[in-house]
Amino acid sequence: MAAFDEYDPTPSDDELEAHLQTRNMVVNLGPSHPATHGTVRLRIELDGETIVKMDTEVGFLHRGFQKSCENVTWTQVIPYTDRLDYVASLHNNFGYLTAVEQLIGIEIPERAKYIRVIGAELHRIASHLTTAGALSMELGGFASFLYAIEARDIITDRITELTGARLTTNFGRIGGLNRDLPDGWVEKVEKTLVKIEEFAGEIDTLLSRNRIFTDRTRGTGIITRDDALSFGFTGPCLRACGVDYDLRKKKPYWVYDRFDFNVAVGHNGDNFDRYYMRVIEIAESIKIVRQALDQLPGGPVMVDDWRIALPPKENVYNSIEGVIAHFKLVMEGVPVPAGEIYSATESANGELGWYIRSDGSGRPYKLHVRAPGYQLLAGLAHMCEGKMLADLIPTFDTINMIGGEVEQ
């Protein structure tokens, strides 16, 4: 009984503060999980709800993009580029073509440059709408996802009229574009822009000042400016950290130096800033498209050089020069001189860079694509380690990695 009398039921301070014996748990997110839009596997070691270590495993969507491109002619590469960033495929088409044109050293017609700007900016809007919509859906706001997809669908309709396909556009050829704008397209785009403004406004109103949304996104997934640069972040994700760098302003290609638009720059580098960069960029892209439609010049959309552009059909059927030019282009491909180039354009998610090596034959010797999402995904583990598991999902959404371009 003596021992029982000595027992004091109140725990001492040491006992209360004692570390509870727990084991870290490993959770696999993906490769096929609704919140990983691509097929990416995240192996997460958890201590309670805190991520201790995260390992990102990619490659489930690898299609041998580079190897395929090395074995086809320069023009046949264009459909492969559709499948890189399949949300905004015109960026890939035009980015690739611009790199090849710079290597050959040709200047494309003014009208083609304007149409490239219009197409690229429309797809930038579509990509940003998808990002904002998917982010809100995964945080529980289904309505704004529907608004975003509705708006994206109208853009897809315009892209279909322009290129003939919803997603795999295969638009543009080396030296310009394969076809001009369809009749009445300009007026349709003007009407579409008004609708998109409404939908984007709805999304902005529903999300940007929404308490639940801001609580989940503000202060989560933070990356500092130095780390972002070191990891190779580009585009909206880098600008959210306060780096004012946009290739459209800093190294203007096509006719971007003729438009009046602002570059959105954040300062916190968190999920909310990355989301808000996109909201602002939608408005800026609408401004660019409007100006481009106003300034749209007439004239041809393809260079007048039969070594690069297919000759008109009447020349193919009625002249020997036309037949030879047509035959050589189809059988041997565009003669790209031997040499190398690194060229980059600003795609929806950041810098889409191309290192091209040509050995003078009709096929690329080496085609490296610097996908913006690849470097963003490389930094994901750094952004999430030591943070809560629930914050992983908005972080994964706002970097907007696209399986097609990351896993090539």
Binding site: G59, Q66, S230, G232, K251, A378
Partner: protein, 175 residues
């Protein structure tokens, strides 16, 4: 095109740049000596080129005969946001030679180096020697020019459930 960074490197670290040239559109390139790459890259970063852009490699097996040795060319791209300039570097290595890793200088280089190892079989000393897009059991390096376009891979045996690492704990075995 500006050659600011390369001029600085050449004066600060004489002997580290093997060759300098301009490509067809006029951008400056430098071929860096393999042993000096970490030193050069640190200097490049100190000059303000803090943004890592990309890494890749070229297999020169099918180029002109005088260009075939050394066989591989590893490419490095960095950018200075303030100067609005890029640096393009190359390191040339032969089969079996490894390159000092730069992941301590640029964090994004880890995935770049893993890509080069995965697709070209060029290893990085002090780096992470792990495939990135292909699976671990893959035989060979698919972007080498001597890897066939329609190459087949051997079937890999299915791993036993006990051999799959599923995290700390009893690994599915009931005690």
């Amino acid at each position: 095109m500006s050659t600011y960074a390369l001029d600085q490197i050449q004066s600060q670290l004489p002997g580290s740049l093997v060759e300098r040239y301009a490509d067809r559109p006029g951008d400056a390139w430098a071929v860096v000596d393999r042993a000096h790459i970490v030193e050069v890259v640190k200097r490049v970063k100190a000059l303000g080129f803090t943004q890592f852009i990309s890494m890749d490699a070229v297999d020169r097996l099918h180029l002109e005969p005088h260009e075939q040795d050394p066989r591989f060319e590893v490419l490095y791209f960095f950018r200075s946001v303030d100067r609005n300039e890029e640096v393009r570097l190359k390191v040339r290595v032969n089969e079996g030679e490894d390159i000092p890793s730069i992941i301590d200088v640029y964090k994004g280089a880890e995935w770049g180096e893993r890509f080069v190892w995965d697709f070209y079989g060029v290893a990085f000393a002090g780096g992470v020697k792990r495939r990135i897009l292909m699976y671990e059991e893959f035989v060979g390096h698919p972007l080498r020019k001597d890897y066939p376009l329609r190459g087949r891979q051997p079937l890999t045996p299915e791993r036993q459930i006990q051999d799959i690492f599923r995290g700390p704990g009893t690994n599915g075995v009931q005690d």
